[in-house]
């Protein structure tokens, strides 16, 4: 039985494709974008998350940890990642959910059971399921089988991808999904490497090859101040789209909602001082794209 690793299933998802949807977040991502608002999605393995404000300081997690990977610190309990074998006994022992196991090994059947619960809403609204991440293509086999299972149930599917995957994987997926939400973050390769950790060549090549497959594509651009919101990048992205005959583009303004997550993970967050783009700024970007004949929607 095929299984994969996911970190969340969100019902009543209304911004990831048409209608009312369920979004399945697959864990693991080959990119490491500075603005990532789901840092817990990057690692393909399970991990333990800690929520200090929920902690009652009862120490049950310490007692439950057979590997002695936990130590008491002023602000809660710290995990020694070298000792922790991710057995999750600490999370099980925690009644307040201050310690949570992020990432769940799950079978196709289990995912489908959850997806099928909202069929009545998909039918009513023209919605369906969106597979997002992380990067869902990192678990290509699992994703393929999920898409097949949805097809059998006549459920509309969307794959939300960075496009960073071997072409064969993407090609296989393209035959099974109804819609791609395809990210173009930056046109300049150097910058792309700097801010996401990988080159954008594969991403752009894949996008070109994908056109032949005739699957509907909506391009998504996250708008990150001072990183990709300059006129040059927007114009280049728009022109590329036009040259490829792509019309639909969604603009996602950066938001600092993830600050807390980075704090909790004790990781550096590069965008600490960055503010959400203003409405005017978003409007300007929209207009640039609209002038190129594109259908730009702000989200």
């Amino acid at each position: 039985m095929t299984s994969g690793i996911i970190f969340n299933i969100q019902r009543y998802s209304i911004h990831d494709g048409p209608g009312i949807r369920t979004t399945v977040f697959l864990k693991g991502c080959p990119l490491k974008c500075w603005w990532c608002h789901n840092p817990e999605s990057q690692n393909i393995h399970q991990e333990i998350a800690f929520w200090p404000d929920r902690c009652l300081d009862c120490g049950d997690c310490l007692k439950a940890c057979a590997d002695k990977a936990l130590t008491r610190k002023n602000e809660g309990f710290l995990t020694d990642k070298n000792k922790c074998l991710l057995c999750a006994s600490c999370a099980k022992a925690c009644f307040t959910e201050a310690r949570e196991l992020v990432g769940k090994q799950i079978t196709i059947e289990e995912v489908m059971e959850e997806i099928k619960q909202d069929i009545i809403f998909y039918d009513q609204s023209g919605g369906g399921v969106t597979f997002s991440g992380g990067e869902p293509l990192m678990q290509g086999q699992f994703l393929q089988e999920l898409l097949l299972a949805c097809q059998k149930e006549y459920i509309h599917t969307t794959v939300d991808t960075s496009g960073y995957a071997p072409w064969e994987v993407l090609k296989g997926i393209s035959k099974l999904t109804n819609l791609f939400l395809y990210d173009i973050k930056l046109i300049d390769e150097e910058k792309h490497i700097k801010f996401t950790g990988v080159s954008n060549r594969l991403i752009l090549d894949n996008l070109k090859r994908l056109l032949a497959e005739k699957t509907r594509i909506i391009v998504r651009i996250p708008i990150i101040p001072n990183i990709n919101d300059d006129v040059d990048n927007i114009l280049k992205t728009g022109r590329l789209m036009r040259s490829l005959g792509l019309k639909e583009v969604n603009l996602l303004p950066y938001h600092d909602s993830a600050t807390g997550k980075y704090e909790r993970r004790a990781e550096t967050y590069h965008l600490m001082q960055v503010k959400t783009p203003t409405k005017e700024k978003m409007q300007d970007i929209s207009s640039i794209l609209a002038d190129l004949g594109l259908n730009a929607v702000q989200q």
């Binding site: 909202d118 809403f121 009513q124 600092d256």
Partner: protein, 786 residues
């Protein structure tokens, strides 16, 4: 809104609700004249006549629809024949922080010197409480149930279209016809019928006098008016009041004024629950509107202005003052006139018309507490109708609420109503289903499901008082299975429902004998034909309700017991009891276990939801179909008004993690914060209840304005509503969250775990955002709601 409406609205909003003893004084004078000299229905009718002949006529500056219940806007009468307030009551009403009424010294003096000496010990409240058993009184004070007729009369009905098709003179002819047909040779009830019908005639005539007094007063004012425009308006009002409600209305304006006189009649005769209501206003008015527009005697703007003036009239009449438990169960100035918009026509076709949309605009412009409004949504209505309503809902007014008319019709059909009567019906009060103009659908009291569980856990004893008020169903510490616990609960449930219904049966008779309502009886079919009062089975359909409260809290409590004590054995019954008795004081950890690691209702989880179904079935089976005293039967509905707060205050800590005295879940909504999978999961859970077997359920959903932003937001809300209604959901209401609530959510995140906010480009649980972002959204919400 134009200047006139803005001014009337402002006055209505700024006037402080006060107590007027005019009605109480006139009623007392009438009783002193007639009591003991005539039959009871005629006594009531003569009292009503005396009121209509002598009460102050109030015409407010600039208004187009006239008539007030009191001598001035917001001047609220009392009903000493129902409830004779003590001087202390008057002080409390005057001084309390919320829902207060200004009481002046003169009012206190009249109360002390005139009202109390006559009514003390002989109001319906006294009569009723004196007729109850010790057992009933114990349950009542323990908070097992409330009693609706303790301070107000049954009421709870709505007008249909007959008052637009017949004038009072036509109705009087119907009454005379019934009188002529009385058979004193064979009908043993002929005398009672004669008295009731005579009483109806007196009441009809009294309202004619009342309308004529308005016409005369307005004509006088017209003569003295200097401003030529207002002079003309007053002359027109005088003509309208001469015409209606004596004759059937001919124009849009006459129709509104006619309704308003009937409304004032009903709410002056008695303090009826949920005041009175025009029901399907858009459908009733549409023929007049269409004709007037075609004839060129009315413009849409004029129609809107008239409707807005009509709106102000409702807002001028706060619910008469309540005290004690009645105030606890319904703590609001709102008197629950709940106007129905949309739905189906009697022939089953789409009933949405131009006026439906106009009413939605009016709600949005007026933004006043009363009247309440709802949309009746059928699968046959266009999406545009829901989306237009959603635009208003998004404003955060809490109005209109949204009903599934197709389900309402099925509920009525299941209860045996004809298809036409069902389609002419709708919902009133909060969410209650009724055949408008033809049914007495009387709410008799809220029923505290969670308290019954608490008493089951204490083997029949109320832990708050130590009194044995239940039956002894065994010490749950020795129960070995969940089924044993459920059996014990069901036995207790039957015990308490028996007590409630025994009390109800007596109260119903008391009202039939001592407090008939002949004026209301004229308007509700088939009281005239039967020669029977509304309180005595005169209506075509007679349904009594008991309203279940706390289904979410009891489900989660039972789920915790089943899961942790009987199945997983995470806790022993002893441990759980100790923790609860301790109100979790030294054991927050166990509370967290109960809160977080228990299957909960509202998450589309069959484990918890099947417990909800079991409790619902038990409640339904115990009540549904029991006979009432009017030839009808009992049904259930699931709504709390504000009673979940009161009921929570009488219960200690519960196994769902709720602390002693905290509120219970409201309506059929999940426990506050227990639903963690979003609105679709809540809807799926709630729809597992068989709504069609009720006479109404109430589901609340919270959203921030951002979730409903833009056209997309409206479309998705429409889909959510349609999906719930496909599943036979009865009603859904959307609370668009204010910044104030968000601040509370910030302070107590655990209570607002289910709160979803739109961040930017996506939505998230509010509790999962950092403080900075929360602050930002609060600021944004404040901005958005301006």
């Amino acid at each position: 809104m134009n200047e006139r409406v803005a001014k009337l609205r402002q006055e209505s909003l700024e006037t402080v609700p006060s107590i007027s003893l005019e009605r109480a004084r006139l009623v007392t004078e009438a009783y002193k004249m007639y009591e003991g000299k005539v039959s009871v229905p005629v006594l009531r009718a003569l009292t009503f006549k005396y009121l209509m002949e002598n009460k102050t006529i109030c015409i407010n500056e600039g208004e187009l629809i006239v008539g007030e219940r009191g001598p001035a806007p917001q001047a609220t009468p009392t009903y000493p024949e129902l409830c004779c307030h003590s001087l202390e009551d008057m002080e409390v009403m005057h001084n309390r922080e919320t829902i207060s009424f200004f009481v002046n010294e003169e009012a206190k003096k009249i109360q002390e010197e005139v009202i109390i000496p006559y009514w003390k010990g002989k109001s319906m409240r006294d009569l009723l409480l004196n007729s109850m058993t010790v057992q009933w009184k114990d349950c009542y004070s323990a908070g097992i149930f409330t009693e609706f007729m303790e301070q107000r009369s049954p009421g709870h009905t709505v007008a249909d279209d007959k008052i637009y098709k017949k004038g009072l003179i036509d109705l009087m002819q119907d009454i005379v016809k019934s009188l002529k047909e009385l058979d004193f040779y064979n009908d043993t009830n002929a005398y009672e019928k004669q008295e009731e019908l005579n009483a109806m005639l007196i009441c009809a005539d009294a309202v004619l006098t009342f309308a004529r007094r308005h016409a005369e007063k307005v004509a006088e004012m017209a003569e003295l008016e200097i401003d030529p425009i207002r002079k003309k308006e007053l002359e027109e009002i005088a003509v309208v009041c001469e015409r209606v409600p004596a004759h059937k209305p001919r124009t849009f304006r006459e129709a509104l004024q006619a309704y308003w006189f009937f409304h004032l009649g009903v709410i002056t005769e008695l303090n009826t629950w949920d005041s009175f209501c025009p029901g399907k206003l858009d459908q009733h008015l549409y023929p007049f509107y269409k004709d007037d527009i075609a004839q060129g005697i009315l413009s849409p703007e004029e129609a809107k202005e008239l409707l807005q003036c009509f709106w102000v009239k409702f807002n001028n009449q706060p619910a008469p003052p309540k005290v004690g438990i009645t105030l606890e169960e319904s703590g609001t100035y709102t008197d629950f006139c709940n106007i129905n918009i949309g739905g189906l026509k009697p022939d089953g076709t789409d009933g949405v018309n131009e006026l439906s949309y106009m009413l939605l605009e009016i709600i949005n412009e007026m933004r006043i507490l009363q009247p309440s409004t709802n949309i009746q949504v059928s699968r046959k209505n266009p999406d545009k109708f829901i989306q237009k309503a959603a635009q208003v809902i998004r404003e955060g007014l809490g109005q209109p609420s949204v009903f599934n008319t197709d389900a309402v019709i099925e509920e009525l059909l299941r209860q045996g109503k004809s298809i036409e009567d069902a389609r002419c019906g709708g919902t009133s009060g909060c969410v209650e289903t009724g055949a408008f103009g033809k049914e007495a659908y009387i709410l008799t009291g809220y029923f505290n499901l969670v308290k019954v569980l608490e008493i089951t856990l204490y083997n029949g004893m109320d832990p708050r008082t130590g009194k044995l008020i239940g039956i002894q169903t065994g010490n749950p510490r020795y129960f070995t299975s969940f089924e044993q616990l459920m059996d014990a609960f069901k036995k207790q449930l039957k015990h308490f429902i028996d007590i409630k219904i025994q009390g109800n049966n007596i109260i119903e008779k008391l009202y039939a004998i001592h407090m008939p309502s002949p004026f209301l009886s004229i308007i509700i079919s088939d009281c005239i034909e039967k020669g029977k009062d509304y309180h005595d089975g005169g209506a075509r359909y007679n349904t009594n309700y008991i309203q279940g409260v706390g289904i979410g809290s009891i489900t989660d409590s039972l789920s915790a017991l089943k899961h942790h004590v009987f199945e997983e054995k995470t806790l022993t019954m002893d441990e759980l009891f100790n923790t609860l008795e301790d109100n979790f004081q030294d054991n927050e950890k166990i509370r967290q276990l109960l809160l977080n690691l228990t299957p909960k209702y509202g998450n589309d989880n069959d484990y918890a939801d099947s417990i909800m179904q079991a409790v619902f079935d038990a409640f339904y089976t115990e009540i549904n179909g029991r006979k009432n005293m009017k030839g009808g039967v009992y049904r259930i509905n699931m709504l709390p008004t504000t009673c979940h707060v009161y009921f929570g205050s009488v219960i200690g800590a519960t196994p769902d993690g709720r602390k002693s005295g905290d509120v219970l879940s409201e309506g059929i909504s999940p426990v506050q914060g227990a639903d963690r999978k979003g609105p679709t999961a809540v809807i799926k859970s709630a729809a597992k209840m068989d709504h069609l077997r009720t006479g109404g359920t109430l589901l609340n959903q919270k959203f921030t304005p951002q979730v409903l932003e833009g056209n997309e937001g409206l479309i998705k809300l429409t889909h959510l509503i349609r999906s719930y209604f496909k599943l036979d959901g009865h009603h859904i209401q959307f609370n668009v969250i204010s910044a104030e609530t968000l601040r509370k959510a910030q302070a107590e995140p655990e209570k607002y775990r289910d709160l979803i906010v739109r961040v930017a480009g996506y939505s998230d649980y509010f509790r999962n955002l950092n403080k900075k972002l929360q602050d930002e959204i609060i600021a944004r919400t404040e901005y958005d709601s301006m």
